[in-house]
């Protein structure tokens, strides 16, 4: 039964490629509906985290309620659900879409439709969302709205696109009118047992976890006992509220409504995105479909440069974990680096963000080992183990074979660059799947690739070989047996476990050589000569030498200016604090990432 309130709710999100102006459009909608006065607008209000603002990406989903009176005088409740904008967070995107009935598809008038936009559009169509295409930045000199409109038509959108300049505030009223007109009202049963979709969660120091929900059926009110259907936890609701965009408590949320509740939940890990909230007493028979736990894809060792920072690193990770359900970490020990953690991430961006937050917000100096995938190690005795640390991949006779995770990668590229794209995919052990010529001089290239190969600089290489035009999206495609070997690095004759990597046998020699060369470049001269060796199964395949420092003297001491001399020595010593002493060798952070930055042969 659709009641009157429900018929005046619209839940929608904005789908856009990075830089196509999603956040600016959101800002204008907030202003035009009077949700936020123009003078209070921080640029791109929805991107709250400092890092998000700096990088122009959204990491956490947001939801804002707006009041809007349509042209015929009917008041409406518009809920804008902002979605993360990066392939690392694809699952979070899909949960956010599930909370909506419609989507604004924003396309840059000069750039046209990008691969990521398309991927998200298809996701939106899968969820039966009504799509309202918006061509943004029409005021730019390079704008070509006709071409963009043609592209939108080619991808199957019949709805006439709205022409907008979010920056200049053009066409905003039309966007709001289209949301009311073209996005369907939610359909939910107010009398059925509560079913609310968790689409995000955020830790608040005072109230515990704020669970972001979209109510599908029933209602959630203060004082209710609620249960998580997948997670299993039961909680009493302390507060229910909406974002306007500041938090505002309400009595309850009915079907179709979007907001949050707090129930003294201690960690976001009890509130997995995609889970269904129901009544503890009056339980729904079926959870909402499509739940899967967030799964880290890449793993990396995190070690404090100074051993005494271990405790602080643990505390910092625990704090980040409160707010990041996709992050995992476990203590590990490295012979070279001492005590640290093996942490799991959704992807490289996620790793980068966490690393930067640890350094910036918690003031930690870290050594991060090169990220790797999880291998399935099959032993000769028939059992299998999942291993997330290259140093632990066995090399002896107990090893039967290794399996590595694969992805199906979809690359959109101008037709002129198909050759270089396929060459790149081939170099990275890709298996060709399909090639499709699209309108507008574009092509879709499908490859199955090892995740371990695209994790590294694949995206950068793709961009450079297509002059920036190609884009990439990928989905996990299970495990596949591969002829992988562990490549070890020895510094000064000692194996440095934190530098071990797993590579395909065909590339092992070339990468071993390139890695040794790179390490020679990034490891500074020491007081003694440092041999660098790359070895496979104990056999050395490459050797380089960091020559001993020859000269480091401060000669002149003019007019007794000892102070300056001391400051130079102190600075020199401080510089070494950023390096980890492995054996007797001072190794900078770049060395641990050297495998990612090998010079092309």
């Amino acid at each position: 039964m659709v009641n009157d309130t429900q018929s005046r709710i619209r839940n929608f999100c904005i789908i856009a490629h990075v830089d196509h102006g999603k956040s600016t459009l959101a800002d204008r909608l907030l202003e035009a509906t009077g949700t936020v006065a123009a003078r209070d607008m921080a640029p791109q209000l929805l991107d709250q985290m400092e890092l998000e603002r700096e990088r122009g990406i959204t990491i956490k989903a947001q939801a804002v309620r707006m009041e809007y009176t349509s042209a015929d005088g009917v008041p409406h409740q518009l809920n804008l659900i902002d979605t993360p904008g990066h392939v690392d967070f694809a699952y979070e995107v899909s949960r956010s879409l599930k909370a909506c009935e419609g989507a604004l598809l924003v396309v840059d008038a000069s750039q046209g439709v990008e691969a990521q936009t398309l991927a998200n559009l298809y996701l939106a169509l899968e969820h039966d969302l009504a799509i309202v295409p918006v061509i943004n930045k029409i005021d730019l000199p390079s704008a070509d709205p006709e071409a963009a409109a043609r592209q939108l038509q080619e991808v199957g959108l019949d709805h006439p696109p709205l022409l907008v300049s979010a920056k200049a505030g053009l066409g905003i009223a039309e966007v709001l009118a289209a949301v009311v007109r073209d996005v369907p009202a939610p359909r939910g049963d107010a009398d059925a047992p509560l079913r609310a979709l968790v689409f995000d969660a955020r830790y608040d120091t005072y109230q515990g976890v704020l669970v972001y929900v979209r109510v599908i059926d029933g209602a959630i009110r203060v004082g209710d006992q609620v249960a998580f259907m997948a997670g299993g936890g039961q909680f009493q609701v302390d507060q229910v509220g909406v974002f306007r965009p500041a938090r505002e408590a309400v009595e309850g949320l009915g079907p179709g409504e979007v907001g949050y509740f707090a129930a003294s939940i201690r960690s976001v890990h009890e509130t997995r995105v995609g889970d269904t909230v129901t009544g503890a007493e009056r339980r729904a028979a079926e959870p909402l479909p499509g739940y899967r736990p967030a799964q880290p894809m890449v793993f990396s060792g995190l070690y404090p440069v100074a051993a005494e920072d271990y405790g602080r690193l643990r505390e910092a990770l625990e704090k980040l974990l409160l707010n990041d359900a996709a992050l995992t970490f476990e203590p590990e020990t490295s012979a070279a680096l001492g005590f640290g953690f093996r942490a799991g991430f959704l992807g490289l961006l996620h790793l980068d963000v966490i690393q930067e937050r640890l350094e910036r917000e918690y003031g930690l100096a870290l050594i991060t080992t090169a990220p790797n995938v999880v291998w399935q190690v099959h032993y000769t005795d028939g059992h299998m183990e999942r291993v997330d640390n290259p140093a632990l991949v066995p090399t002896g006779s107990e090893l039967a074979y290794l399996e590595e995770p694969m992805v199906d990668a979809e690359i959109l590229t101008p037709q002129g660059s198909i050759g270089p794209v396929m060459e790149l995919a081939q170099e990275r052990r890709g298996v060709y799947k399909d090639l499709e010529y699209l309108e507008g001089g574009r092509a879709r290239v499908l490859y199955r690739l090892p995740l371990g190969e695209i994790m590294y600089d694949f995206f950068d290489a793709l961009k450079s070989r297509t002059r920036g035009y190609a884009s990439l999206d990928y989905q996990m495609a299970g495990y596949q047996r591969s002829d992988l070997v562990r490549l070890d690095v020895l510094l000064n004759g000692e194996t440095v476990d934190a530098l071990s990597v797993v590579v395909h046998r065909d590339f092992a020699y070339a990468r071993g050589r390139a890695l040794a060369q790179k390490l020679r470049e990034v490891i500074p001269r020491q007081m003694f000569e440092v041999p660098i060796q790359a070895a496979i199964g104990g056999r050395v395949i490459a050797r380089e030498t960091v020559r001993a420092m020859r000269k480091d003297v401060l000669a002149k001491c003019y007019g007794g200016d000892i102070t300056r001399k001391r400051k130079l020595l102190e600075k020199q010593k401080e510089g070494k604090r950023r390096m980890k002493t492995v054996g007797l060798v001072e190794v900078p952070q770049e060395a641990f990432m050297a495998i990612l930055r090998l010079d092309p042969e």
Partner: protein, 387 residues
């Protein structure tokens, strides 16, 4: 502590600024203003609080002190002696740039009380002298030494720099051969330091000047070690070589934590170690600002720092290690109340194992290898643990 203190007088006049120089200097000062500058020095000296004991050495550094009127130098020495006795036989050095001084005035400097001269030669190749903006020739430098001898100076030092842009090892060898053939008593051989803000730093930044690679500069540094001992010079400090008994007393004062009073623009002073640490302070660098202040009877001090006991103990070690004779372990324990193994656990053993330090007869010092990369050794001694 041996007692007494050293005096440094900064004399900032120059005919032209050298490309690598970042000391307080002025170019183009007339003789009247130069005399007034030394008036300012005398005025500052008159109001300095002095450490106890006699003056053990005086050093006129620059700049180009040889541009000063010998009578003005004499006046300053008189002023110094007027407030603290100058020890009998105290070393009184004047820095000289070739071509800036007439034969006659050398005798006048000697008359004024100067008994040691330090001649800035820097290189024995005309193209290197040109690139450094040195206003003299090699022949003028040689002439200056002969004139000094004639004027009765028996303690002469020469300065040279290695690691110059485009310098070859062979050129450096030639420079050493040339300078030693003049038979000075003392040689200061400096590794070129590219200081920010100098014309040299800009030239290096633009790529107009290319410094020798580290290995090559290292070879140059080693060359002196190989050549000079056979010619009767002993390395007694990181960058200083001397005939036995001709080591610079003034330089040693810095490495041995003796108090020193610096007068003149940008000069540094040191109180000497006390129970609570020590104080170091320095004057305004700007030459005319310094003059205005000192002549008006104001304190020209621009900054100061307090050194903790820990910092002092660190300096005791890393300054002491600059000298070839090294430091005495028992002297450290006497002054700072802790043995070296307690103050810097494991450090000495590690450096000895790496052949960077020797340790014999209760002393430790840099090995030849240690001298090459002395900064790496000193760094380990910056903050000893005094408990």
């Amino acid at each position: 502590m041996s007692g007494g203190f050293a005096v440094y007088v900064h004399v900032p006049f120059c005919v032209r600024r050298c490309t690598y120089c970042d000391f307080p200097v002025v170019v183009g000062m007339g003789s009247a203003e130069r005399s007034r500058y030394l008036d300012a020095v005398a005025a500052e000296w008159a109001s300095e609080a002095l450490p106890a004991g006699p003056v053990t050495s005086v050093y006129f550094g620059g700049g180009t002190p040889s541009l000063a009127d010998p009578r003005d130098i004499g006046r300053v020495l008189e002023a110094i002696g007027g407030r603290a006795p100058i020890q009998a036989g105290a070393e009184v050095t004047l820095e000289v740039n070739p071509g800036t001084v007439a034969a006659g005035s050398l005798a006048d400097f000697r008359q004024a009380g100067v008994n040691r001269m330090s001649l800035g030669v820097q290189a024995a190749q005309p193209h290197h002298l040109r690139q450094l903006h040195r206003e003299h020739t090699v022949a003028e430098a040689h002439l200056a030494i002969r004139q000094m001898r004639r004027a009765g100076f028996h303690n002469v030092s020469v300065d040279a720099i290695y690691g110059l842009p485009a310098q070859t090892v062979r050129e450096w060898r030639d420079t050493l051969a040339c300078l030693t053939s003049w038979e000075p008593e003392h040689l200061s051989l400096y590794a070129l330091q590219v200081e920010a803000g100098t014309p040299l730093a800009r030239a290096v930044g633009r790529g107009d000047a290319v410094l020798p690679a580290e290995d090559m500069a290292g070879d140059m540094g080693d060359l002196a070690d190989v050549l000079l001992p056979s010619l009767g010079y002993r390395r007694y400090e990181v960058s200083n070589f001397a005939q036995p008994g001709r080591e610079s007393r003034h330089n040693q004062a810095y490495w041995r934590h003796q108090p020193y009073i610096g007068v003149g623009a940008g000069a540094h002073s040191f109180s000497g170690p006390g129970p609570d640490g020590a104080r170091r302070w320095w004057n305004v660098r700007h030459v005319r600002a310094y003059m205005a202040s000192a002549l008006a009877g104001k304190d020209p001090t621009a900054g100061e720092e307090h050194l903790s006991r820990t910092q002092l103990a660190g300096e005791f070690l890393w300054l002491g290690l600059r000298e070839a004779a090294g430091v005495s372990e028992s002297a450290f324990r006497e002054v700072y109340g802790r043995s070296l193994p307690e103050a810097v656990p494991g450090v000495v053993e590690g450096l000895v194992a790496q052949h960077l330090l020797w340790r014999t007869g209760g002393r430790l010092g840099l090995t030849r290898r240690g001298f090459q990369i002395s900064n790496q050794v000193f760094e380990r001694f910056l903050s000893p643990n005094l408990g």
